[in-house]
Symmetry: C2
Subunit: 222 residues, 2 copies
C-alpha cells in the first residue's frame, strides 16, 4: 500500500476525501493552524483522523495572518454571509492558501517517499476559490515534477481530488457510504464562542443544502 | 513603480537579486525562519534589507523541521562538505523549500496587489537543487495564474530570477556594480558557534571560488 498525504481541515469535504482514498493509501494527515478565525476546525480534524484510523496526523503552525487580506485570517474583515455563488471571489478567499498547503504536503510526502497528495477541493458547491479548480491542481503537479528531488529523478506526482466534480449532496452520500461520521466535522467560517456554526456563511449554507437535498439532518447540528 | 516581493535569505545570491531588481520595483523582502541550522542568515537578511533601503521586510516562522529529511533542518543529518557538483541532489536539499517560499511570497504579493516575485536562484554554480531551475519557475508561474484571485481575474504573474544563468563570479561582479556590500551577507550552511563560515560546505566553496575568480577577497571573511 502506497503512502499519501491528505490535507485534513476537519471540514466535511476533507473528511470525505480522506475516507474515499483510505482504501487505496496509507494516509498521513496534515492540518494547519494558520491564524484562521475558525481554529476550532483543528479539533475536528483530530477527531476525524482518529475515527478514520489515521495514526500519523501533524498540525503545522504557519502565520498567514501576517499578510492579512482575508476575512478568515483578519478579524477586521467581516465574514460575508450567504451570497449566491457567482463569478466573484469572496472575501473569505485566503491568498495562495492551497498553494501553501500543497507545498507543505509535498515537503512531507518527499520525506516519506510518497508521491500522492489528497485534497478535498470541489468546484460545484464551493465558494468559487480559484485554488480549488482542476487546472490549478494539474499545474501544481507540474511544479512538483519540475521542482522536487523525486520529480528530478523521474518520479511522478499525483494530486487526488476525488470530490472535484461532485455536488455537496453527492459528497455527503459518498462519505456516508465510506463511513464518515459527519457529527465529528466542522465547516463554519465564523463560529460562535463555543464553536457553534453561524448557519449563515457560505460554508454553513452549502453544507445545510447538501444535507437537505438528501433528506437528512446534519448530525453536527443535532 | 510596481511592487514586488523578493525572497531574501541573507546570502550572496538573494542580496544580488534584490540589488539588481531594485531599480525596477518597490521591493518587499521576505525571509523565513524554518528551523535551518544556519538561522544566523536571518540577521544577514536584516542587514542586507536595510543597506538596500528595503523598508518592508518580514520574517515568517515556519516549521520545516517537523518533517525532517534535510541536513539543513535535521541536526541528525551532517552537512556534506565539498563535493563536485554532479547530477546527484545533495543532503542539503530541503524538500519543496522554494515551492513553500514562493507560495508565501505569492500570498503576500496578492495582499499587496503585486504580481512580481524575485528569487535569487541560479543553476550554474549551485548545488543542483531542482527547485532552482527555470522549468520549475515557469511551472510555478502557471500555478499562480491558475490558482490565485489575481490570475483568475486575468492578471499575469512573473517570477524574476535575474541570476539564473550566471556563474558565481558573474553574480558577484553584477552585485558589486549594483552596490551590494557582500560583507553583510552570510552563505555558510554549517556555521560555527559565532556564526563563522565553515569554509568547506558547498555554499562556502562556491562563494570562495566566485571571489577568487574575480581576484577579490571575500569581504565577509576579511
Amino acid at each position: 500500500m502506497r503512502d499519501a498525504v491528505v490535507l485534513l481541515s476537519g471540514g466535511l469535504d476533507s473528511a470525505t476525501a480522506a475516507a474515499l482514498t483510505r482504501p487505496r493509501f496509507r494516509l498521513h494527515a496534515l492540518s494547519f493552524r494558520y491564524g484562521q478565525r475558525h481554529a476550532v476546525e483543528i479539533q475536528a480534524a483530530r477527531r476525524v483522523a482518529r475515527a478514520l484510523g489515521i495514526r500519523d496526523h501533524r498540525v503545522v503552525r504557519i502565520d498567514l495572518g501576517v499578510f492579512g487580506g482575508s476575512a478568515l485570517t483578519d478579524l477586521a474583515i467581516a465574514v460575508p454571509k450567504w451570497r449566491r455563488i457567482g463569478r466573484r471571489i469572496p472575501a473569505t478567499y485566503v491568498p495562495a492558501r492551497n498553494t501553501i498547503f500543497l507545498a507543505f504536503a509535498a515537503a512531507w510526502a518527499e520525506t516519506l517517499g510518497a508521491r500522492d497528495l489528497v485534497i478535498g477541493v470541489n468546484v460545484l458547491d464551493s465558494s468559487g476559490y480559484p485554488d480549488c479548480r482542476p487546472a490549478f491542481l494539474r499545474a501544481f503537479e507540474r511544479v512538483l515534477i519540475a521542482g522536487t528531488k523525486a520529480g528530478a529523478e523521474g518520479g511522478r506526482w499525483r494530486i487526488h481530488a476525488p470530490l472535484v466534480r461532485m455536488t455537496k449532496a453527492q459528497i455527503i452520500r459518498a462519505g456516508l457510504r465510506a463511513g464518515v461520521d459527519y457529527a465529528l466535522t466542522h465547516s463554519c467560517y465564523d463560529p460562535g464562542p463555543g464553536g457553534s456554526a453561524c448557519g449563515a456563511c457560505d460554508a454553513c449554507v452549502l453544507r445545510r443544502r447538501g444535507f437537505e437535498e438528501i433528506g437528512m439532518e446534519d448530525p453536527a447540528l443535532c
